[in-house]
Amino acid sequence: MKKLIYYLGVIIGSVMLAGMIFPELFLPAGITGAFALAIFTQTCAKNVSGASKVFIAEKSVATAFTVESGEITAVTGTTPFMRVDAMQDSVSWQELGELVGLNNWKITNTVELDIMPPETETNTFLQALIDGSPCGYFALIVDGNSRCWVVGYNATDIRERPLRLGSQDHKTGKGLSEAEGNTIRITLTNECGGIALPLDDTLNAAVLAGTSTICKWS
């Protein structure tokens, strides 16, 4: 009996020790509410503002996301993310979190990009965005630090709150001195309960290299 208690103690102690050293073993994959506050260490590296590229996928085409340790390791679908050639320095993504009531956390994503010139091709692209909006979109944003993020999917809502076309704004402008004249600003937006996830290093590198099969390049 004493031996049994001894061995039980060793087993329980080992499990507790493993939990303290490797807490991720006892947490579900993805970002969930299960994370306890821990220290945050800042990496000594440059931090570049802005976003450089955007790709947009219809929810119905990007059929599944595989997530490990809070990073997306795979996207299932036949080259779901379409390359969108937006104007330089016009792509932006805002992830705004705010408290609602006492216990509810709401995140509003806003993805903006400008395209030009107003032409039949831009009309076709816009009409496709309008038509697909009821089902929703996921956007792949390459930020200024060359990190890729999938916006519209999150671990809390899973795939239920994708981005929708929030607005399209086209003004001719009043003359040659208006830099934003004859550009079309597209806004994709959603309200959701979870933060966006980045791609893992392998998938991230493939997107940056232009070789990833999750993006349609041409």
């Binding site: 599944a64 595989t66 299932t76 899973i158």
Partner: protein, 59 residues
């Protein structure tokens, strides 16, 4: 249909997918064969490839 086996390195992964108009999330280490079959249908690449039978076939 042969039993679907998740590759070892993917066991800690979680897959978020749409099926029959709803979204689901499943941890691969805890997924049932029914769930794995759905993932296979969708085309999620997490399964071990079936071994080729190299033995000569007896006639």
């Amino acid at each position: 249909m042969a039993k679907l086996i998740v590759r070892k390195e993917k066991l800690n992964s979680e897959v978020a997918y749409s099926y029959n108009g709803s979204s689901y999330s499943v941890k691969l280490s805890e997924a049932t064969q029914e769930q794995l079959k759905i993932l296979d249908e969708i085309g999620v690449d997490v399964f071990e490839k079936p071994e080729k039978n190299d033995k000569p076939v007896k006639v």
